[in-house]
Symmetry: C2
Subunit: 386 residues, 2 copies
């Protein structure tokens, strides 16, 4: 991108690339952080170390906002500085001697952290896969859900729904299958629900909507895409009390130990923002912002559709997943759109071998940039028959 | 402590326990965080993901404030959410197959994270030590510095100066020895300088004051005790370009990869606070606050001295390290002081087997609590001849 900008200094680059939020944080939430920051300069408002797990009020607020009637207790919620950081802490919890499965394509952190803690064995350039990881192909051809009857057992199963990058969402029936599969095999599901708030369909927003999930699933989520906290850093992970390792020991106890050994809690100012997010005023503001991004997504998807592309996602996630005709490499498509339309997208290949031939367009952008991007895309591809 | 409070609800507990800052954050610094938080609610001030390594301005500011004339480049500084989090990222960088040395006693995170990533082998209850870790005894008897001529080679050497908990500081000559020892053995020093700002003596505040250190040492530090950021969360780690693994590959490249795989940057609001800390106004405010805690330390040390105890530290660190006569266990001493004076300290044993017989008293407290604590200590121990 930097090289492109040097070559074309006159062009305005529009980013539909990394999923980076663009709209200001709602005032009611920012104000809570301002007040907390100010409080830290007063005797009454100053606090030092908080608990590593986060303040009780925020954990209670999350239960009320996102897990009401799902039987989650505040003590099963661990506040963090974001889902990526929780993913590595979960991998540290599992250690190097486990086998894992991940959707292909998916958010790269699952596989990258697995490699980092030593769970994998070798890398196979032919398939572009790491040894010991089970890649669950999630393509249009299988409706973005793996055939579990053909899937080998693994110790952990990373599953993101709504999925980044495809935007695909598992149905209740599919998640019931997944939970039953995990239960049968003694596997632990790590369910990433970071985009749940973007769901329009009536699919589950939390794995805990599925009976029995408390015995097999951890859920990780984040305020990043919920409230524009990509830079503020705040997330959470749910570890139910019933979840046990094969030796019968509770996972929550070990996760707590890993957390306390490697982390000193999320910033108290960010936590104050989180608390404002889960207030009724905050939730209203958040849903308005999410609605704005969803409209962006609709515009983008409609544009690609009108140009004759095969598109996926966009209904339950802030991403449109676009398949390009022929057997073009996703990097070539990326380059073409960058060179000819000054638009940054994300090549599907970056999310795993299953992303080849696709690009992801992110709806996190100002409306005028989305509109301008659609016009450029129409100029670029409008003449072609795709 | 909770049990104690239930038994004695009338007593005011004074904490000289965990090193948790007590004084409000200087206004000039809190204001910068307020403004940043407010900015996030505006189109102009909003930002999402920053670079994982932190903003250029803050890295430049750290160079200017703490590494001027030491040859550290801004690109060798990685901003983080605190030293504990950087310690686990460093352990992930080194992996399970290295041997490590740590001071005994020292900040528990070094050994705990080593255990977590699988560097250790077994635990020996007799010596209360983990297998494969080299414990560098740092006691009054060796002037808190290990005899390097008798020390086996290890891949990494964690070294904290001024030390938590002993308050001992390595001299220039000792650090020259340590750097030469690491160079001879191909070891990497992880130098924790979180308390450097408390230094009164003319000892080095950074390992990079020692010639050749750039080839053997990583330095990790934090705003926690510098600016009262224990709850705000901000720190940094320096990895010099010259530092290489034994295969010749640059450590900085791999650390950057670990950081980007496991972390999404410190909170942008905390970073705004950090930037204010390294401004001239901020540094002035910080030094005033540090001076306040240093006076607390002086009062505490003088009290224990006047009561006839053997005390260490307190000159270059916000901690007084007190040896109790006889062979009392540090937990018994802790219990006695809690039961009879309603003061929380930290039992030395918590910092490793070498802490047995000692307690650590932290100077992070309001002045009136420090004064009150000294009066209670005088009542408790004034009659005894120690």
């Amino acid at each position: 991108m930097a090289a492109h900008q040097r070559k074309h200094p006159e062009s305005k680059l529009i980013s539909l690339g990394i999923g980076d939020t663009s709209e200001p944080i709602p005032e009611v939430i920012a104000r809570a952080m301002e007040q907390r920051a100010h409080g830290l300069s007063t005797l009454k408002g100053y606090t030092g170390y908080g608990s590593e797990q986060g303040p009780k009020e925020l954990r209670e607020g999350l239960v009320k906002a996102f897990y009401s009637d799902l039987g989650i207790d505040k003590d099963e919620i661990f506040i963090s500085d974001g889902a990526k950081c929780d993913v590595i802490r979960l991998q540290l919890l599992f250690g190097p001697d486990v086998t894992m499965a991940a959707q292909d394509p998916s958010y790269p952190a699952y596989v990258d952290t697995s490699v980092l803690v030593g769970q994998t064995q070798g890398y196979y350039p032919d398939t572009q896969q790491y040894g010991k990881i089970v890649y669950m192909k999630c393509l249009p051809e299988n409706n973005f859900f793996p055939d579990l009857s053909k899937m080998p057992r693994t110790d952990t199963i990373f599953f993101c729904s709504p999925n980044n990058p495809t935007g695909a969402t598992a149905t209740r029936k599919q998640l019931e299958e997944l939970v039953a599969f995990a239960k049968k095999n003694g596997s632990i599901i790590i369910y990433d629900s970071a985009y749940a708030i973007y769901m329009s369909d009536d699919h589950p927003k939390s794995i805990y909507e599925i009976p029995g999930a408390r015995e097999v699933a951890i859920e990780t989520s984040s305020f990043s895409k919920v409230a524009g906290f990509t830079g503020v850093r705040l997330g959470w992970t749910v570890v139910p009390a019933e979840l046990r390792f094969q030796d019968g020991s509770p996972v929550i106890k070990d996760f707590n130990r890993v957390l306390c050994t490697t982390f000193n809690g999320a910033s108290n100012i960010s936590q104050a923002g989180g608390l404002a997010c889960v207030s009724s005023e905050g939730l209203e503001a958040i849903h308005k912002m999410v609605g704005f991004y969803k409209e962006n997504t609709r515009i983008l998807k409609e544009t690609f559709d009108s140009l004759g592309f095969e598109t996926y996602g966009g209904q339950n996630a802030p991403y449109v997943w676009i398949r390009f005709p022929g057997s073009q490499s996703s990097w070539n498509i990326f380059d073409e759109i960058l060179e000819k339309a000054d638009i940054v997208t994300t090549p599907g290949r970056g999310f795993g071998p299953g992303g080849e031939g696709f690009i992801r367009a992110s709806a996190f952008a100002h409306r005028e940039d989305i509109i301008e991007a659609t016009q450029r895309l129409k100029s670029l591809y409008g003449g072609k028959s795709n």
